[in-house]
Structures are given as structure tokens and as C-alpha cells.
């Protein structure tokens, strides 16, 4: 096991080359709805159990199914209302299970990125060949059902191997959502040397982390989102920042939580100088305009050149 990911070098959040977003925006703001399928009876991964209860795990399975049956439409209508195109972190088996959801998101020109095939299939224990096959199949499924191969990857259930990012870069991807080390995009080192970047997603503002792990009250979650935005907006006057709200249709869309989310969305989109965008567009803009300059600055600050 490695002691460090090895994908990036230290790069202080200080005196970096200025990031300029389109139209002089301060913050690139994106919402990443995770649209997931959890299996009722997945094969049991040796490293991690999918469910806390024996088969059938009704409590865990049924609330996640709620997300697709009820929650998705609620969140989609809200994002429509505030002019946000979602960047979907997709369990690609959902293309087969629930094609209606895929079609609605496609009509809205939402982005689809890969989140593996099922969120109950973990990367742990896979050989490199197996992981490559799984990632490739997820890419091909998205291309087939949406007409475009995904640019981004978030490993299923945040389960990784030593080669996850290398493999995705080799298979044509340009960005990862798996790293939480920064508020700006950063170049990532992958073994094939592809131009590959981290686009800030967020663990702290991820609704499942907020609600399930950190057990935060809905209105406090809304306030956290606003506070996060205020700071990134202020700092973005100096150099463009990224803010992401990762969501789950079985968390944020529950009737007792969606008001707080709507308040936060209304607040953010009520500001000028916000680039309401997608993960892919952030990655493409950064690679086209800032990637090489960033690499040079990182090298300089680590004693090179």
C-alpha cells in the first residue's frame, strides 16, 4: 500500500496563477446529482458489506429506491427552476433499469459522468484487468445511451484501487471527482502522462455525508452551503474558485430537506459573477487555459526551474 496517492504535488493556496472563468465569473458552480442504483442482492465484496442487514435489507434498499421513484423528479424540477444543468454521477446500470430518468436528463443537456455500474459493486479486490473492464463498460454504456462518452469519474461508492485514476485517464477521461484536496482544479499525475485534472467535488457539502455521516439539520446544511459560497465568491475575486454541491435524490429531495436546498440554490444563483456550469466544462476550461501554467507554478514552488 502507498502512503500517498502520488497524483499531485503540494501547491499552497497562495500566489497561484490567476484562474479566469468565462465572463469574469468568480466561482464556477456546479451541482452533481448522484443517480445511483443499489442492488438488493449484490455479490458480497470481501472488503465491504453493501448492507447492514441480512437479505433483504429493506431499510437501506428502499430509501435509495425512493430517490429514483420520488426524489429525482423533485430535484430535477428545482434545478430547472434555478437554471442549473446537473452533472450526473451515474450508476450506469440505471440506463437499463430506469431509462426514463436518463432521457429526461438528456433532454436537459445534463452531463453524465461515470460512477461505476452499480453502487453496490466495489473496486476493492478487483484486479487491474477487472477494474479496467468495469470502467470501460461504464464508459461504453454512457456513450451508447447519451451519445457522448463521459469526461469524469467518481469511483462507485468511493471505492478505489492504486490504479483507478490511471485507468480512467487511459480510457479517455479528463477529470476525477475522487480527490478533496483543493478548491481549485489541479493537474493530476497519472502513469500514462495524459492531461488529467481534479475538479473540486466536495465531501463536506455532499448531502449524504452531511445528513448520514455528520447528521446535520437540514437548515444548517442550507446555511453551510451559503457560507461556503460566500467565502469562495469572495476569494474568487482574486482567482477563480470552484464550488460543487454533490447530491443524492434520496437525501436532499426528501420533503423535510428540499426547502433548505432550494434556499441555498436561490441564494447562489441570485449572485452575478457565478458561472453555473458542469464538471466537464470546468475541466475543459482549466485544461485549455490554465493547466500548463499551473504545472509550471507547481514545479517552481517545489524547487524546480
Amino acid at each position: 500500500m502507498k502512503a500517498d496517492t502520488g497524483h499531485y504535488d503540494y501547491w499552497p493556496y497562495l500566489d497561484r496563477p490567476k484562474i479566469r472563468w468565462p465572463n469574469g465569473a468568480r466561482v464556477a458552480f456546479w451541482v452533481a446529482p448522484n443517480i445511483e442504483f443499489y442492488e438488493l442482492a449484490p455479490p458480497v465484496n470481501p472488503a465491504r458489506a453493501a448492507w447492514p442487514h441480512p437479505y433483504p435489507a429493506v431499510p437501506g434498499y428502499s430509501i435509495r429506491d425512493y430517490g429514483n421513484r420520488v426524489g429525482h423528479m423533485r430535484q430535477m424540477q428545482l434545478l430547472d427552476k434555478y437554471g442549473v444543468r446537473g452533472s450526473i454521477s451515474l450508476s450506469t446500470a440505471l440506463c437499463t433499469h430506469h431509462p426514463e430518468i436518463i432521457e429526461m436528463c438528456r433532454e436537459r443537456d445534463w452531463e453524465f459522468f461515470s460512477h461505476g455500474i452499480y453502487n453496490t459493486r466495489y473496486t476493492y479486490g478487483m484486479s487491474e484487468t477487472q477494474e479496467r473492464a468495469m470502467i470501460l463498460e461504464s464508459i461504453e454504456t454512457i456513450a451508447e445511451h447519451t451519445g457522448r462518452a463521459p469526461a469524469g469519474y467518481l469511483a462507485p461508492a468511493l471505492s478505489h484501487s492504486d490504479h483507478t485514476l490511471d485507468l480512467f485517464a487511459e480510457l479517455g477521461g479528463i477529470y476525477s471527482c475522487d480527490l478533496f484536496h483543493d478548491d481549485q482544479p489541479t493537474p493530476l499525475r497519472v502513469r500514462g502522462g495524459q492531461r488529467f485534472v481534479s475538479v473540486p467535488y466536495s465531501l463536506e457539502l455532499n448531502d449524504t455525508i452531511a445528513y448520514v455521516v455528520n447528521k446535520i439539520e437540514p437548515r444548517r446544511y442550507g446555511q453551510m452551503i451559503k457560507d461556503s459560497f460566500d467565502r469562495l465568491y469572495a476569494e474568487g475575486a482574486e482567482s477563480g474558485t470552484v464550488m460543487c454541491i454533490p447530491t443524492h435524490n434520496y437525501q436532499v429531495s426528501c420533503p423535510h430537506r428540499i426547502k433548505a436546498f432550494e434556499d441555498a440554490l436561490a441564494y447562489i444563483t441570485g449572485h452575478s459573477d457565478v458561472w453555473v456550469t458542469t464538471g466537464r466544462e470546468i475541466a475543459e476550461h482549466f485544461i485549455a487555459h490554465h493547466h500548463d501554467e499551473a504545472l509550471a507554478d507547481i514545479a517552481k514552488k517545489n524547487g524546480g526551474l
Binding site: 421513484r69 446500470a93 423535510h256
Partner: protein, 312 residues
């Protein structure tokens, strides 16, 4: 290092669900629902009346069960508090606001405290089966014959002592074994409340014929919010009111008919420092003229009759 090939096979990847218990359907694709009196929002309040034995034997411990070495007097008596004091405080609050609740009752509790059961029966409120006790989870691995006997014993006890038909069922901890739906259907249950994947009733398939699933939301229940998430009581009340207003706004739209299900536990919300927050919620519900406040059996009947019309 590699996983067995089964980890990369996807035998249930197909249209709809990965099992045959119910069909795939998005809430917004359903026929319109109209509740009695042209009220847009149905509100169902369920109170779970539970017995947690001090000497639990089930390998799976449900939330609220004993956690200390025997004798766990603190938890045994704190749960018992709900059935002695908390429930009566809660009944007064309901009556004060003119609201009705259904009661899911562990059969052992009905047997232990006949006067409590008599109070509920005299109120005329609907009772639901809730298995024998909080030490009898219907979890996977339970022997099917033992589970059949458990269902029979629980329902027979509650039916005999209450004189009610008992059409509804709430499994302790909302856990089911692979056999629970068949056993409940065979025992004359019309609906259960265990699968929280929807906000309206839907048909659930069993080898003995269909029954209804009427979801009783977990994410907003008192125990989950206050005891698991450790949110302040005032936050719980705010969350319920936010949910109420959100569902009501949606219910006023063309498709209509939404349902707020509210799950309560007297050992949680019946405490003196919490009851006023329940009263805040009840007052908010009672103040609305757009609510059909109903028992779960009434909701099933109203919904089922419309579904029958919609399909003819």
C-alpha cells in the same frame, strides 16, 4: 489478486427493478389521486407502542433495545416510561388538537398492559400488528416456520384482545425476511408499512397474492431525527413543518393527492421536554383546512377504490 467472476456479472440488469416484488414507477407518472372532501394532503400519524424486554435474545438488536450488561435498568425503564407516561401525554396532545393516530402495537405489550389496550380500543383508533416485541425482528435468516408462528401468535393476540380486524402491519425496525410478505398476506394483512421507497401506496407482490405497501417514512420520524441524528427537538418540528408545506404545495398541483406520514414513539416524543415540539407540529397540521387526516386503512381504501376505477 482478483475478485470472482460473479462480481463482474450483472444477471439482474434489466428494465425496472432487480427483483419481482413490485413494478418500477415514478411518483409523477401515476394517475391523479383525490382524497375525500377534495383535500389535497392526507396526513397519517402513527404511534408505535413497543415492548423492549430486559433479557433480549435476538442476535439482531433493534434501535431502542438494551445496550448495557444485564440488568440494563436504564433502558428497560426508559422504554417502559413511554408506555406508562409518554403515551398518555401524547394522547392528550392529539385530542387537544382534534387529531387521530393509528397505533402499531407489539402483541406482548397488549398482553402485559390490558388497560393501555382498552384505552386505545375505546378511542376507536385503528391498530396495526407490530409483531410480538422489539426482540422479534423479522430479519433474513429467521426460520420460515418460526416466523409463520410469530406472525400468527402476534396477530391472534392483538385481534383477540382488541376485537379489531387488524389489516395493517409494521415490522419492528421495518425489517423483513424473504418470507415476511407471504406470511403477512396469508395471515390476512392487507397492507404493510415497511418499504420507505414511495410516498403513496403501491401494490406489492407475494406468492400468496398482492398486498399494499403504505410507506411510513423513517427519515422524518421522531426517533430517527432526535435519537439517531441527535437533532434538537425544535429542529425536528421545523423539519416536519417544512415537509408538510412542501407536500401540500405539491398536492395542490394537477396530479394532486400527496401523503405525509408521521411516525412517533411515546418513549421519544412523550418526554416532558419534547412534547411541546410535538404540539407545535400538531397545531400546524390542525390549523390547515386542506388536510384529510386519516387512519391508514382509510387511506388504503380511498386509494384502492381510485386505482380500481383508473384501471377499468
Amino acid at each position: 489478486m482478483a475478485l470472482a467472476q460473479a462480481h463482474l456479472d450483472y444477471p439482474h440488469r434489466r428494465y425496472g427493478m432487480d427483483h419481482d416484488r413490485y413494478g418500477w414507477s415514478m411518483l409523477t407518472d401515476r394517475p391523479p389521486v383525490r382524497w375525500p372532501g377534495a383535500k389535497p394532503l392526507a396526513v397519517w400519524i402513527n404511534v408505535s407502542l413497543q415492548h423492549f424486554p430486559m433479557n433480549p435474545s435476538a442476535s439482531l438488536k433493534l434501535a431502542g433495545s438494551m445496550t448495557m450488561p444485564y440488568q440494563d435498568l436504564r433502558h428497560f425503564t426508559l422504554r417502559d416510561y413511554g408506555n406508562r407516561a409518554g403515551i398518555y401525554r401524547m394522547l392528550r396532545a392529539l385530542d387537544l388538537h382534534g387529531l387521530k393516530a393509528s397505533f402499531a402495537v407489539n402483541a406482548e405489550l397488549a398482553q402485559r398492559y390490558p388497560s393501555l389496550l382498552a384505552t386505545l380500543v375505546a378511542r376507536g383508533d385503528e391498530l396495526l400488528g407490530h409483531s410480538w416485541s422489539m426482540d422479534t425482528p423479522h430479519a433474513g435468516g429467521l426460520d420460515p416456520e418460526a416466523e409463520a408462528a410469530l406472525v400468527q401468535r402476534s396477530l391472534a393476540c392483538l385481534r383477540e384482545r382488541s376485537g379489531q380486524l387488524i389489516r395493517g402491519w409494521l415490522s419492528p425496525g421495518k425489517l423483513q425476511s424473504p418470507h415476511t410478505p407471504e406470511l403477512l398476506k396469508a395471515a390476512g394483512i392487507d397492507y404493510f408499512c415497511d418499504w420507505v421507497n414511495d410516498e403513496l401506496p403501491y401494490r406489492f407482490h407475494t406468492a400468496n397474492g398482492d398486498l399494499w405497501n403504505l410507506p411510513l417514512a423513517t427519515e422524518i420520524e421522531d426517533r430517527f431525527v432526535v435519537m439517531d441524528n441527535l437533532h434538537a427537538e425544535a429542529s425536528w418540528a421545523e423539519q416536519v413543518i417544512d415537509a408538510f408545506e412542501m407536500l401540500l404545495a405539491e398536492a395542490r398541483q394537477e396530479q394532486g393527492g400527496r401523503l405525509l406520514s408521521l411516525s412517533l414513539h411515546p418513549w421519544v416524543m412523550g418526554q416532558p421536554h419534547r412534547i411541546k415540539h410535538l404540539e407545535t407540529v400538531l397545531a400546524h397540521i390542525a390549523a390547515s383546512s386542506e388536510v384529510w387526516q386519516a387512519a391508514p386503512g382509510q387511506i388504503i381504501d380511498a386509494f384502492a377504490s381510485q386505482q380500481a376505477q383508473a384501471s377499468t
